[in-house]
């Protein structure tokens, strides 16, 4: 049996019908990791012992038939910025290279309670700062579809581990496309939920007002399944919604005829790779066939999304990363330190990579006396306009369709020389985070043998509609079923 291509739903069937045990499944996947992750390099840490332990517990649960969930016994990987008690959590940064959290993120707890099996932690751009995974302090992750190319970022390791069959689902984190962009590059499904839908407690913060934890899966149904288990109000996160979490999978089959799909004209402009453009057009025709009404809409401030996103991210990150000072945890470079300030200066110099340094310095600059109004405050005001763009669009349509990236996966090293050019690859995915709206990314074709992704963007807290529409699409297409030649 091909374990590594199973969906959660398929594996769940096998588990509860006792045709397969979680230990067998987990061992199989661990074996495959040993076999091919040396090529993909998606994992920073593999928690083999813990995984087998959890798998055994899961099998007991299934044997007893006690609180068996759709995730019980399912092996998954998790982006290395989400705290796991007792399991090294590095953010792919030198400064946390040996950091072992004393507590679990709320999402980690929810998954453990559901009985899911944590295989390990996946590579990422350092602290989520990047779009290719090349900013990992440890190593590059390779795109399973072409090992000379990037998996996208910053949740590149998560996407690659799933595409390569090194887990059955993965937990990513999306601050400005970090789930959707790599999902597109690696041909998997991933959702950035509404900001505040999933707890951030224990998620090592990049930009507190953008960060969203989201699942990456083989199809939309799995995606809905995982989100059901990790979403919800958390008394430890003041920014989570109290609104109850709907049972997405229950209504995922509902018809989508007559639903209005908006095509933001600002997203379909010159500069998009031809193959990407045509794949998107084909997807639009597909939705038309499914009975949806297609409307062109406008998000007039789209071109400002990128500067708004980066300015605010830099500012928030500059404060969020201040706690890495070498005094309470993580790397501490104390040689010859006469004053505590020396520890700060040395530790942060050695512990952070260039992109992190750039961003926290620019963030401090945008917040510093004399520049606050021109940069930080201005960006917060334009952010309000970005939100209004979406509000007015959603007064006309039910959801929006957009690409996840103007190109397919680019070559390793292709964009590392110019930070600004790297920022531009996020152009289609960043706007949703300042606005807080949910967006799901799913495969929609190939361009010279590389996956093309599209995203559906919804109203606040309307993940439901996204799942319905995306699921309907996957019922009539099989792009998502394509597996990389490894």
């Amino acid at each position: 049996m091909q374990f590594h291509t199973l969906t959660i739903r398929q594996a769940h069937q096998l588990l509860i019908t006792k045709q397969l045990s979680s230990v067998e499944l987990t061992q199989a996947i661990l074996g495959r990791i040993r076999e091919i992750d040396s090529k993909v390099k998606s994992y920073v840490t593999v928690a083999e012992e813990l995984a087998l332990e959890q798998a055994k517990k899961a099998d007991e649960r299934i044997a007893k038939g006690e609180n068996v969930t759709p995730l019980t016994g399912i092996p998954f990987s998790m982006k290395d910025c989400i705290s796991t008690r007792g399991v090294r959590t590095t953010c792919s940064s030198k400064i946390l290279a040996n950091y072992i959290p004393q507590y679990n993120a709320t999402v980690t707890n929810k998954l453990v309670e559901a009985g899911a099996v944590l295989l390990g932690k996946t590579n990422m751009d350092e602290f989520g700062m990047g779009s290719s995974c090349e900013n990992s302090a440890f190593f590059n992750t390779h795109n399973p579809w072409d090992l000379t190319r990037v998996p996208g970022g910053s949740s590149g390791g998560a996407a690659a581990s799933l595409a390569a069959g090194l887990c059955l689902f993965s937990i990513g984190e999306d601050t400005g496309g970090s789930v959707r962009m790599p999902a597109g590059f690696c041909n998997v499904t991933g959702i950035k939920p509404t900001y505040g839908r999933v707890s951030r407690y224990g998620l090592i913060a990049l930009a507190s007002s953008f960060d969203c934890i989201g699942p990456m899966t083989r199809d939309v149904y799995d995606c809905a399944t995982v989100l059901e288990h990790i979403a919800g109000h958390d008394p430890h996160d003041s920014t989570t919604y109290q609104t109850p979490v709907p049972k997405y999978t229950a209504s995922i089959h509902q018809p989508i005829r007559k639903m209005k799909l908006g095509i933001p004209k600002e997203y379909f402009i010159a500069g998009m790779e031809a193959g990407v453009e045509s794949a998107l057009q084909e997807a639009i025709r597909q939705f038309e066939k499914l009975g949806m009404e297609i409307h062109e809409v406008s998000l007039p401030h789209t071109q400002y999304a990128l500067p708004v996103y980066y300015l605010l991210l830099f500012a928030e990150a500059s404060a969020n990363l201040a706690r890495f000072d070498g005094t309470r945890f993580g790397l501490s470079v104390a040689e010859g330190a006469k004053d505590v300030i020396d520890i700060y200066l040395q530790t942060r110099r050695e512990g952070f990579g260039d992109e992190v340094k750039r961003r926290i310095m620019l963030g401090a600059y945008a917040l510093s006396a004399g520049y606050y109004d021109a940069y930080y405050l201005k960006a917060q005001k334009v952010r309000t306009l970005l939100r209004r763009d979406f509000e007015s669009a959603f007064s006309k349509v039910d959801l929006l369709l957009a690409p996840t990236c103007p190109t397919t996966a680019f070559k390793l090293g292709e964009k590392t020389s110019d930070p600004l050019e790297m920022y531009l690859s996020d152009i289609y995915v960043v706007a949703t985070n300042p606005a807080g709206v949910p967006a799901i990314a799913l495969p929609c074709g190939f361009s010279n043998n590389l996956p093309v992704g599209m995203q559906l963007i919804g109203k606040h807290l309307d993940e439901q509609t996204l799942f319905q529409v995306a699921h309907a699409y996957q019922q009539v297409t099989d792009w998502h079923k394509k597996i990389p030649p490894l």
């Binding site: 950091y99 004393q102 507590y103 505040g196 008394p235 003041s238 920014t239 989570t240 109290q242 401030h301 071109q303 400002y304 500067p307 708004v308 980066y310 300015l311 201040a322 000072d325 070498g326 005094t327 309470r328 945890f329 993580g330 501490s332 104390a334 330190a337 004053d339 505590v340 300030i341 520890i343 700060y344 200066l345 942060r348 110099r349 952070f352 340094k357 750039r358 310095m361 620019l362 401090a364 600059y365 945008a366 510093s368 021109a374 940069y375 201005k378 960006a379 917060q380 005001k381 334009v382 952010r383 309000t384 306009l385 939100r387 930070p419 600004l420 920022y423 300042p434 807080g436 606040h460």
Partner: protein
């Protein structure tokens, strides 16, 4: 209006965020920052008169804690990750300017 961020500014900011940097790094960052900040300046085109900053918009309702004491985490756990500790305290080098 292209705007340059001199190396001395870079050094000042670097110290604000407690980053040790060399002269060469300062020069490299100065070049990169100027380009990035110049790109950010496109926001000046946008008319934001009477537009409230998004940070003032509460997208969640008041979330407050009742004043109830929860158990503390174990000190041993806490100090396990500490580079230096002594008699249950976190230990740091002399603190000047105080």
């Amino acid at each position: 209006m292209p705007q340059t961020i001199e190396t001395k500014t870079v050094k000042h900011i670097a110290f604000l965020v407690r980053l040790g940097i060399s002269e060469e790094e300062a020069q490299k960052f100065s070049r990169q920052f100027s380009a990035i900040i110049d790109y950010f300046n496109m926001l000046n085109e946008v008319d934001t008169t009477n537009v409230p900053p998004a940070s003032d918009i509460a997208n969640a309702e008041n979330v407050l804690r009742d004043d109830i004491v929860q158990p503390s985490m174990s000190r041993e756990e806490f100090l396990k990750n500490a580079p230096q500790s002594e008699r249950g305290y976190i230990k740091v080098p002399t603190v000047l300017g105080d």
